[in-house]
């Protein structure tokens, strides 16, 4: 059967069997969203729940993000799970800056997002004051389902090329 013999409609069906068309951007985004390499920055209770997210029951691997990397050079998703104290803030910024582009940040839990119920003298009141955050996941700690939901939201943002003004306009704190 040669293409010349076919009706237009059939031709279209045939081509779909052997090829698909897309934009290069979309292809790259598709690859990116399904192969996130998270750096689990677990500092506190949320870190324990993050273990559940990675663990056998919830299994983040199903979303293409099982390759956990503790080196910022090899990761593109910073999962901040737990309270960030004033003492920890410079370390967090340093880790973030060491990550290569493109990079994303997910803030897991109330403490990382806003300081949570620690309105206290040694706790940073939200990591968005030092690094740009793409997704905030509420909860204290959030259930693993909520974290998976956050990851899926991030995947959607990546696929749709969602604008990220918080990232574009971010200035590193002057002390780093």
């Amino acid at each position: 059967m040669t293409p010349q013999n076919l009706e237009d409609q059939t031709m279209d069906d045939f081509s779909k069997q052997i090829a698909f068309t897309t934009r290069l951007d979309d292809l790259v985004a598709w690859g990116r969203k399904n192969a996130l390499w998270p750096l689990p920055y677990g500092t506190a209770c949320c870190g324990i729940e993050l273990m559940s997210v990675m663990g056998p029951k919830y299994d983040l691997a199903r979303f293409g993000a099982e390759v956990v990397r503790f080196s910022p050079r090899q990761a593109d998703l910073l999962l901040v799970a737990g309270t960030i104290t004033e003492k920890m803030a410079p370390v967090l910024v340093r880790i973030y800056r060491q990550m290569l582009e493109p990079k994303y940040v997910l803030s897991m839990g109330a403490c990382a997002s806003s300081g949570g119920f620690y309105r206290a003298y040694h706790v940073l009141q939200g990591i968005d004051s030092v690094i740009p955050v793409d997704v905030f996941v509420p909860g204290c700690p959030p259930t693993p389902e909520a974290v998976l939901d956050g990851i899926m939201l991030l995947q959607k943002m990546i696929a749709e090329h969602h604008p990220r003004p918080w990232k574009q306009n971010w200035k590193a704190p002057d002390y780093v």
Binding site: C45, M51, M88, V91, L92, A120
Partner: protein
């Protein structure tokens, strides 16, 4: 003759006790002594075998007094379970002698009191900040420091060590390679920072920096009513949250002088032992991961999820459950819950055997852990080790046996004890403790007492919702208790429970108001972790990683 009277007569022949105040209140013995007598009194108490453990050192601030601070020491004897509190009043600018020479475990506790209150311990070799960052100005637990006054930190300290024998620890030796691990490092469990000077693969000098998770638990406790402190306690040792709830509530109940009903006691025992199992799951699982054995972690986490499921059935939360209330439990268990727990025990028993085979019988695991960085019993006591680590060193101390609470004395269980105090023994003890906890849970679940799950004292416990919405007395009661708060009598107590990591103590000072005046937590891993630099000295770097894992340092309770 009571213990305090014996001490009083023993003191009489040795010291000029005219200025001493002996007191027995809320079941605790305490003595107030002047600061000049600190060294002779503590030397006498230790050498005379009155007490062998220095459990805790902390400060309390009373800005209205001429002598503004109290330095509070808690002593314990492992043979008879006796406790003693010694208080030393101190004016601002005065100093007290450091106890580091008598109990080396005083080291970090004194540093913390300095950091939090500015209390100066004369003779302490490393009296610098420990929990707050190095740019912090002031002392946050003083009453005149506002709870929410943040100070930003803009840098991290370079590699540094403790001063030893008068040598400055910040000076590095050019012949060795300095190495920094953490605080963001997979083997450092999130927030620990270990620094070392290496001669090849051998550690010449090690140091650790903590405080990366200091989230001001004790200040938060001072600014919240008693029952609202419970959620904060969850987040101390978040691997076994219910145990902290129980420890805290037990201390408040002690000062209130109430005993909780048998059913609440039974529920607390079940929760505590379930927590012990899941805490050891994390300790053993991540300990294996740090040695390169990933399988055990995934295996064990399946069972941790099952316990989460039990907690969810009980209260809706998985990890941070806040299940207790002062006076009992928040609510009764749903129907069939105890059967679910028994079913879990059956499964878990098999799993423990499997993990035991997988790790403890594994040749690589044995070679990595046996004989590595052992801690002798005498050292363990001097550092203030408690819990599985102390028992691994051969000291069979368990508060559930020596000072039983909640009916532990009526339960049949064994206390596993190691021999060498090495890393292997620590895991051996933990895995056996999981078996014993399952035994305890099964015994309790089969004999759940009837009755109420909480006391019904109107000045302590909120009425049930059906009464609040159903009759005027219930509504008024609810309203008054919320507005006025639960108010314990003026005084102070220390109460401890056997948590998964060791003695979890709460020192509570009440001024009769609705918030704790001061709440000091005695976290087990704080005392243990301070020994790390000397334990790993001369070992290989990889052994240091195994040691950190076996100590099961939980940053939430370490830094609070």
């Amino acid at each position: 003759m009571s213990n305090l009277e014996q001490l009083k007569s023993a003191f009489g022949s040795k010291f000029n006790t005219s200025q001493y105040q002996f007191a027995h209140a809320f079941g605790d013995d305490s003595i107030v002594i002047p600061k000049e007598d600190v060294i002779p009194v503590f030397t006498f108490l230790k050498n005379g075998d009155h007490f062998d453990f220095l459990m805790d050192v902390c400060g309390v601030d009373y800005p209205g007094r001429a002598k503004r601070f109290d330095v509070v020491y808690h002593l314990f004897h492992s043979k008879n379970g006796n406790r003693l509190r010694i208080k030393v009043p101190l004016a601002e600018g005065e100093y007290v002698d450091s106890l580091v020479g008598i109990w080396k475990g005083a080291d970090w506790f004194e540093r913390e009191a300095y950091d939090m209150f500015g209390i100066v311990f004369r003779g302490h070799p490393n009296l610098r900040r420990i929990l707050t960052h190095h740019q912090f100005v002031g002392h946050p637990l003083r009453k005149d420091y506002e709870a929410d006054r943040q100070q930003h930190c803009t840098s991290s300290l370079p590699v540094h060590f403790d001063n030893v024998n008068g040598e400055d620890g910040s000076l590095l030796n050019d012949n060795f390679v300095p190495i920094n691990i953490g605080p963001s490092h997979p083997a450092m469990h999130g927030t620990l920072r270990v620094m070392a000077e290496m001669d090849g693969e051998t550690i010449v000098r090690a140091g650790c920096e903590i405080g990366y998770l200091h989230r001001c638990f004790e200040k938060m406790a001072e600014t919240h009513p008693y029952n609202q402190v419970i959620p904060y306690t969850d987040r101390l040792n978040y691997c076994s949250a219910p145990m902290n709830n129980v420890g805290y509530c037990k201390a408040v109940e002690k000062i209130l002088g109430v005993e909780i009903p048998p059913k609440a006691q039974a529920m607390r025992v079940i929760l505590c032992e379930l927590s012990r199992v899941i805490d050891h799951i994390v300790a053993v699982g991540t300990g294996g991961v740090d040695l390169g054995a990933l399988t055990a972690f995934f295996h064990l986490f399946t069972y941790r999820e099952k316990v989460y499921h039990l907690f969810e059935k009980l209260c809706g939360a998985r990890l941070t459950v806040s299940l207790t209330r002062v006076g009992g439990m928040a609510q009764d268990a749903p129907e069939g819950w105890y059967d679910d727990v028994l079913a879990f025990c059956k499964e878990m028993r098999q799993e423990v055997d499997e993990i035991s085979k997988l790790l403890l019988d594994n040749k690589i695991f044995i070679k990595r852990t046996q004989g590595v960085c052992p801690v002798k019993a005498a050292d363990a006591i001097a550092w203030g080790y408690t819990g599985p680590l102390l028992r691994a060193s051969g000291v069979g101390l368990d508060l559930r046996k020596i000072k039983p609470y909640y009916g532990y004395d009526a339960l049949d269980f064994d206390v596993p004890v190691g021999t060498n105090g090495d890393i292997y023994d620590r895991y051996l003890v933990r895995i056996e403790e999981m078996r014993q906890s399952i035994r305890i849970i099964e015994q309790v679940c089969k004999n759940i007492p009837g009755g109420d799950y909480t006391i019904r004292d109107r000045s302590i416990v909120l009425p049930e919702k059906k009464d609040v919405y159903g009759n005027i007395e219930g509504l008024m009661n609810h309203f008054m208790l919320v507005i006025k708060g639960l108010r314990p009598p003026v005084g102070d107590v220390y109460d401890a429970t056997e948590a998964a990591n060791g003695e979890l103590g709460f020192y509570l000072v009440s001024d009769g108001s609705a918030n704790p005046y001061r709440l000091k937590v005695r976290p087990p891993c704080f005392a243990i972790y301070q020994s790390f630099p000397s334990v790993v000295k001369g070992a290989m770097l990889a052994d240091a990683i195994a040691t950190v894992a076996s100590m099961n340092v939980i940053a939430g309770e370490l830094d609070r």
